[in-house]
Assembly symmetry: C2
Homo-oligomer: 245 residues x 2
């Protein structure tokens, strides 16, 4: 079933997943991967039985779960990195620390249509997806065993997407990732030093320079960060000082 | 010329390099890249003028620099991430911290023969390469502006190697990378807690389990770490408790 293991030097937790090695394209070189096959896509309308039973969906009244008629559909990942059937248990193992692979790994299918990418979706359709993401995060937050909930989307083979049909993923973790702890710590150190929020200061700085801003409206600002790690890195920040969305 | 920029939240330095964007394969998708062309390889014997002038070489007596007759050859990277022609200077920039792109980026060409990969090289040839790496590190250590010297080798296009001819790279940095600081810190915390070296403890643990050891001789041990981040991750540690090689 896999487990979480702690790096004894860096203090970073790593997911050791036996399930995910069963994915059909593991260890296959890019050029040898089969092309995404629309005729067999498990996320398309009419193939609901190909995924695990759905957790949630937005659908036409009087249609049943795991049948056609949905607009947005949430299902468990078929090859989960973590799962909620495991009890959360922490153990020492020699000099090491480990934890059972408790957690959740959900897939949010944005649309029944294989080719309806975000650029083709209407504002209403995109709003539906965002509301479902928000709902799932709120549901998962009720379980105190989760320390961190991550939403992500891989788009394109280069980004690791094994299925082209538009979808997000949500992972609920029993630990706070090292990178997140570091961000919280960095913001706290800055606040102790300056008595100001670092994100608010960064927004002000970018607005005064005006060089790296991509888009701005009443609620949000997006820009390329000063110390980008890779080309085209973009941040989207809420302009109001608030701790969550 | 590029510069180093500090991430204001994580404290991580990022190299912003204008030179490297000039590399011929930047932003070209894998399948569009031209195949490595042996007839034009700048690292092959006889094409010494295609690289910047050599820094060092092991060669047949009475042959001249930048001419054939070498066994191992050290040249500056033609598209350096950092360079020593820049003065090391630190500046504030609004809320940010930056540093000029002082540093070094060298290429160690292991063999004059394009196809003579490490698996084909003799022990003597490999020893030559390692001695040259060691020599360059010792030379660079004499410059107090360097805080960290990194040796690495990209092999294969998947790993980012743009030239197939066997070569190492050395980067000398004016900062200690965040990851390295964290390793030093982690080892220190462990020592303060246990009054023992974490690396020595990890070697003992792996030897007692015997599950993850790949190879061991009098001087070294190699194993897959308990909390591997990716499949086939391998560590090679000296069995003697020593701070460097």
């Amino acid at each position: 079933m896999g487990e979480l293991r702690k790096d004894p030097i860096l203090g970073r937790w790593v997911i050791i997943s036996t399930e995910r090695s069963k994915r059909p394209d593991s260890f296959v070189k890019e050029k040898e991967k089969t092309e995404d096959d629309k005729d067999k896509c498990p996320f398309c309308e009419g193939r609901e039985k190909m995924t695990p039973p759905e957790i949630y969906s937005l659908r036409v009244p009087n249609t049943k779960p795991d049948e056609p008629g949905w607009r947005v559909r949430v299902v468990p990942n078929k090859f989960p990195a973590l799962n909620t059937e495991t009890e959360l248990e922490k153990r020492g193992y020699g000099v090491h620390d480990m934890m059972t692979s408790f957690g959740t790994h959900e897939v949010i299918i944005e649309t029944p249509d294989h080719d309806r990418d975000i650029k083709d979706q209407t504002i209403d359709e995109i709003s539906d997806v965002i509301r479902v993401l928000q709902y799932r995060v709120e549901e998962l937050q009720k379980d105190e065993r989760f320390r961190y909930i991550l939403i992500f989307k891989n788009k394109g083979k280069e980004a690791g997407a094994s299925i082209r049909h538009p979808h997000y993923q949500i992972i609920g973790l029993p630990i706070t990732p090292k990178r997140v702890r570091e961000e919280l710590h960095g913001a706290e150190v800055y606040f102790k030093l300056k008595e100001r929020c670092i994100f608010c200061d960064l927004i002000e700085q970018e607005k005064s320079w005006g060089e790296r801003i991509i888009y701005e409206n009443d609620g949000f600002i997006s820009f390329c960060p000063y110390a980008s790690r890779f080309p085209f890195e973009v941040w989207i920040l809420p302009k109001d000082h608030s701790i969550d969305f």
